[in-house]
């Protein structure tokens, strides 16, 4: 069983901070969306996502909401339909934990042990998330985007 770090249980009633319900509804073409997603990520955004593993975010719902607001701000030009379904990154809690994820729809941060599968199609990001070059992996339904500490992105189709 994955370790749910948030004190509160996962809720289906998405709060105002939920990425699924926030963000402008812009009519960018898929190519324009991809072009935007290809752009370098901001320092603020990277810091926010990489703090997934830090103590300040693991027990506080407000802190997670703040993090989600930051994500929404970074991808504000893109409709919420095209936002990541989740984030996966290397877990620094130490053994036996290997990676952790932020499930956008449920707003849950979970830490996973070796051999434990990630849900919602996020398992395909597991191998690359463990690579030290990448700060985290954005998981989309049709692609993965690997983000380095400097904000450079690499896109993997499928």
């Amino acid at each position: 069983m994955a370790r749910t770090i948030l004190g509160a249980k996962p809720t289906l009633d998405h709060s105002s901070a939920s990425l699924a319900t926030r963000g402008p509804s812009l009519s960018l073409s898929p190519q324009q969306v991809e072009a935007r997603l290809r752009q370098q990520r901001s320092r603020k955004y990277i810091d926010a996502v990489t703090k997934l593993d830090a103590g300040s975010h693991v027990h506080s719902k407000e802190a997670v909401d703040e993090l989600l607001r930051e994500i929404g701000q970074e991808l504000r030009e893109v409709s919420a339909d095209f936002w990541p379904i989740g984030y996966v990154s290397k877990c620094y809690l130490g053994a036996p934990y290997e990676v952790h994820s932020l499930d956008r729809t449920g707003n849950i941060i979970c830490h996973y042990k070796a051999g434990q599968s990630l849900p919602n199609g996020m398992e395909r990001a597991r191998t690359i998330a463990r690579h030290p070059q990448y700060a985290f992996i954005e998981v989309y339904s049709d692609k993965l985007i690997a983000v380095t500490q400097s904000g450079d992105v690499s896109l993997i189709k499928g």
Partner: protein
């Protein structure tokens, strides 16, 4: 009474001897059965090895046949090229021959006229023949013939003729004429549908053949092409796709089964591991490719005439579209030969580089082909440098994508199958656990085998009944009962002895199997660890590629010019 007893005892000894003989025979038969069992196991093992060898033989035979077929086909294709288009060579050789003869004025005007006119007769439909007649007429100052022949050459192939005379004008230092011809050439071009010979123009630009004015003109035109192309929807994505394919075309196609013998034999994950290792080899191959492009000086041509002659030779030799189908065939055959008969690997490589053999390509694809497939695109090292510098950002992005995709495709865990047991490991950290699991599995097999080797109900029944008969027969000295009783008891002990021996055999067999399986597991895990290390080493080369691309600066592309001018190209 006592006499009877002696006789009875003597008879019993006879029976006992008989039973002892039977027991001995049964023991011999038992040994023989055990021997047959061992032989059968040995035969099965040899049969499995034979099957494996047979499969390898079939695969090797198929590859050998493909290789032989490709070699034969390549010869046929080359013969066909020679038969169909061989006479073009004569025309092609004369193109630079006429110019060089005119340089030193040692051939009479009549000879040039006569030679070019003969070419006209020998090569119908070929654009170069009337172009050479026009060139000869120009050298001989025969404007009427020059105009007429030129019109015919332009009719046959406007673009090649235009480029040809642009280069000839440059060779003759006619800057204005060269500019006019180039203007005409550019006027005909659509940057999304360029003919392959445009690479000659890029070669001329990159090698500093043109004077400063013309060079500026070409540079601004190529920049305008890129600008025009980049306005189109999906342009950047197309660049990444092009470069992605170009980078992947450098992936080696090696089978590492010889170095990872245990994983190749015992891991169902092996094919993915081998594919991942080859994909990680892209970085070293790409690094080597770019180093060859950028390292060292490129010796300049001694003078403008030699430089242009090389370009003219390239223009007339390599870009005739009617030869393209055969050239494609020839290339596929060459790739099959390079891949030692592995047709699938050859077709995969061909698919990745086939854009270099398309009749029409866009300008950026032309740059990609020039940088990555110089042998097919017929580009010089100057052009490779220029094309790489212009495409640097796209290459970096595509390389980032390829690197991430290769990393994402690495199997997170490796499955190991030994003697029907299966386990997985990420990097050998759970070796003890796996060894325990494997030992337990083999103990289970042993227990199952031993479970059937035990003294059965029949044996116990024989002992009990035999014992009863003996007890019953002894007081009355009933020989029949005593004989039957002794037989039952002896059968029991014989069977028990046989079973004990068989159990000892099973114990020994599974002890050996356990040791063997443990060694196989240990060796497989050691190979997993070594595989991860080798992959990490290959993967680390990705950073070197990025560093090399980052280091490409415009200052590296200061091109020397035959006009003693210098120009920063990128």
């Amino acid at each position: 009474m006592s006499t009877e007893r002696i006789i009875h005892l003597a008879d019993l000894a006879f029976i006992e001897n008989g039973i002892r003989t039977i027991r001995s025979d049964v023991a011999v038969v038992s040994q023989q059965v055990e021997g047959v069992g061992n032989e059968l196991a040995h035969t099965r093992s040899e049969l499995a090895q034979l099957e494996q060898l047979f499969r390898e033989f079939i695969a090797a035979d198929a590859m050998a046949k493909e290789l032989q077929l490709a070699e034969t086909r390549q010869v046929k294709v080359r013969q066909e090229l020679e038969t169909k288009y061989g006479y073009y060579d004569q025309v092609r050789r004369q193109a630079t021959g006429i110019l060089q003869a005119a340089d030193i004025s040692i051939v009479r005007q009549e000879t040039i006229t006569s030679a070019t006119e003969e070419l006209m007769l020998a090569a119908p439909r070929y654009w170069l023949a009337p172009a050479l007649v026009a060139l000869g007429a120009w050298i001989n100052d025969n404007q009427a013939l020059a105009t007429k022949a030129l019109a015919e050459a332009l009719r046959r192939d406007d673009e090649k003729t235009t480029l040809f005379f642009a280069l000839v004008s440059r060779r003759a230092s006619r800057a204005a004429a060269c500019g006019t011809w180039l203007d005409r050439y550019f006027g005909m071009q659509d940057p999304s549908k360029l003919d392959r010979q445009t690479v000659v123009l890029v070669d001329a630009l990159a090698s500093g053949v043109f004077g400063a004015d013309v060079r500026n003109k070409i540079t601004s035109r190529t920049e305008a092409w890129i600008e025009e192309l980049s306005q189109r929807a999906g342009f950047v994505e197309e660049q990444r796709t092009q470069w992605n394919a170009a980078l992947r075309s450098k992936a080696p196609t090696l089978d590492s089964a010889q170095r990872y013998r245990y994983l190749a034999k015992h891991s169902p994950t092996w094919n993915d591991l081998n594919a991942s290792m080859n994909s990680a080899g892209i970085h070293a191959a790409v690094l080597e490719h770019f180093r060859q492009i950028f390292n060292g000086q490129i010796p300049p041509s001694p003078n403008i005439q030699v430089a242009v002659d090389n370009l003219l030779h390239k223009l007339v030799k390599n870009f005739d579209d009617e030869e393209l189908p055969l050239r494609r065939d020839e290339r596929l055959c060459q790739l099959i030969i390079d891949e030692r008969g592995n047709r699938k690997a050859a077709q995969d490589r061909y698919a990745l580089e086939s854009a270099a053999l398309d009749e029409q390509i866009n300008f950026t694809q032309l740059l990609t082909n020039a940088a990555m497939h110089p042998e097919i695109a017929h580009s010089s090292r100057d052009t490779q440098r220029y094309a790489t510098a212009l495409s640097k950002q796209w290459i970096k992005e595509a390389h980032g994508d390829v690197t991430a995709a290769v990393r994402a495709a690495v199997p997170p865990s490796v499955q190991i199958d030994i003697e029907g047991w299966s386990g997985t490991t990420d990097n050998g950290e759970n070796e003890e656990k796996l060894a325990g699991s494997l030992a337990k599995y083999i103990d289970g097999l042993k227990d199952a085998a031993l479970a059937v080797l035990k003294v059965g109900v029949m044996h116990w029944a024989a002992l009990v009944i035999g014992g009863s008969f003996l007890l019953w027969g002894l007081p009355t000295l009933n020989l029949l009962l005593m004989g039957l009783g002794a037989g039952g008891v002896i059968w029991f002990f014989t069977a028990r002895s046989k079973i004990q021996k068989a159990r000892a055999g099973v114990e020994a067999k599974f002890a050996a199997l356990k040791e063997q399986a443990r060694e196989m597991l240990k060796a497989s895990i050691a190979e997993v660890v070594e595989w991860r290390r080798e992959f990490a080493r290959r993967d680390a080369a990705a950073a070197d590629v990025t560093a090399l691309l980052d280091d490409i600066s415009p200052q590296q592309y200061v091109l020397s010019s035959h006009d003693n001018a210098r120009k920063v190209m990128a």
